[in-house]
Symmetry: C2
Subunit: 342 residues, 2 copies
Amino acid sequence: MAEMVSNKQVILKDYVSGFPKETDMYITTSSIELKVPKDSNGVLLKNLYLSCDPYMRPRMRNVEGSYAESFKPGSPITGYGVARVLDSENPEFKKGDFVWGMTGWEEYSQITAPHFFKIQHTDFPLSYYTGILGMPGMTAYVGFYEICSPKKGEYVFISAASGAVGQLVGQFAKLLGCHVVGSAGSQDKVDLLKNKFGFDEAFNYKEEPDLNAALKRYFPEGIDIYFENVGGKMLDAVLLNMRIHGRIAVCGMISQYNLDIPEGVHNLMNLIVKRVRMEGFLVPDHYHLYPKFLEIIIPHIKEGKIVYVEDTAEGLESAPSALVGLFSGQNVGKQVVKVATE
Amino acid sequence: MAEMVSNKQVILKDYVSGFPKETDMYITTSSIELKVPKDSNGVLLKNLYLSCDPYMRPRMRNVEGSYAESFKPGSPITGYGVARVLDSENPEFKKGDFVWGMTGWEEYSQITAPHFFKIQHTDFPLSYYTGILGMPGMTAYVGFYEICSPKKGEYVFISAASGAVGQLVGQFAKLLGCHVVGSAGSQDKVDLLKNKFGFDEAFNYKEEPDLNAALKRYFPEGIDIYFENVGGKMLDAVLLNMRIHGRIAVCGMISQYNLDIPEGVHNLMNLIVKRVRMEGFLVPDHYHLYPKFLEIIIPHIKEGKIVYVEDTAEGLESAPSALVGLFSGQNVGKQVVKVATE
């Protein structure tokens, strides 16, 4: 009989409407055997880092046909994370491997159908695989290069620009020679965009009563590429400022996730007037590009051409507040939860 | 001195808000010399057919930065038409040529900078060059083949489906082997779609209190391609019913043209969930494809594989009511005004 250990877990109490609160989740302690059943094809993971991502908000609703399965009330939250394999009955993974992918918000997870990426480059902080080297990094890469068809010299606008994805999109765009402006929700974040990530300009959308006027100020020539992370009023203002043959990569709409009825967007006629392509994407469709992405990003990181800012919450107990904070913009950079050291 | 003749004209009184009325225009009679000034590069046209098109509604506003110039209050309406060249100082056009392109709503027009297509195939009704062989035909061709990337067997939905553009998109889609459903605003039009144009299904949107439910009935598998002519509530319902990797060609939004503030569209999150590409286009960007289009469409017409329904108003005096009727769906098929016989 294998070792039984206690296993702290973050449980969703019930489906959530409006802004999520810490009390929508609770911490419980169960126990788990650190072994997977023989011939089960499963793996047993020790979770090291858990990722807080905006797409997790829609999963707190009871919605069918969304792009990610709803969480189960009474069960642990699930999400991207970095883990170490403690036991494996799966031929692709062996004890000691570091992996990233979908795991549980708990200390240990038994995964019956593992779809993980094995971490080959362990000379980076492992937390990077919840961010720059994981799903958000791939999201930035795919959204910018595959969806936006960017060209040198183009005018690029990024909302939620200091977040896990936005900070990378901006740096990719700068490396390509674009003019890059970002919006964020605090002066600290604006400073980060300009001073750390090298954006040409940045502004605090909360201090702009007229978003259309703000965009006209930062983009007197208009916007070629909009990397959409927020939706709602910002999208409406952007539509008024797109250039001919502009492109909008629709990555997320975080401003809408806590509303029962999403805000109406009024300026879609501009898609015709300006011949704009607006395209939604989901990163899992593009994971076959992950090796190519690593080939590109790893030298950039090593040469200091791309930097990454994380906001780390310590301990599984801090996970609910970290996740909730995402929706009021508490995080500065990629929000990650450190569950354990290796 | 050349002949001076009287020249009836349709004049826009003033910029229009809300639904346009016949009384927003008036008929006047001026006179014109049937000759262009020597070395002027211009042409003198006898207008034969004038085209009523939805995009003319935005031109009745005083809006800068729209895709088509505003009309000038006190001056004749301008729009697509078919004409015969009476006099020419332009090397590209000679007396007797039939042409189609931008002309005036009047019996005779002097055009100083002519950009016309010369009509080569005069074995079709000349009115066809306001419709199937003119701008609307090219719009259907470009919107469907270039923007929608259609594939055999896909589910195609077309709004304003019996109009100048919609009836052709549906027939193109049927020829390709798609499943085609159209919406229109009367039972007569629904019958036309099913019996004359060969749509698989059609419905009267005015009799559907719940457009989402209607679309679910006609598209239990969802919509691969939406050819957007109307905007507003229909677009919102379509967004709920798109299939993964669907495409929306944004051709027009006629339901919004008479509103001071366009309706809000709430369901854009579905662009992400379903990875939908939504793309606006303007046909003048694609006129280089016109010869290729003619090569394809002309045999189809001759072999009876594609048919076209026109709604012809007789005489320049009927032009205001014909144009106004477009915005309440009075027309059945392409609305054209016959000004003169050859």
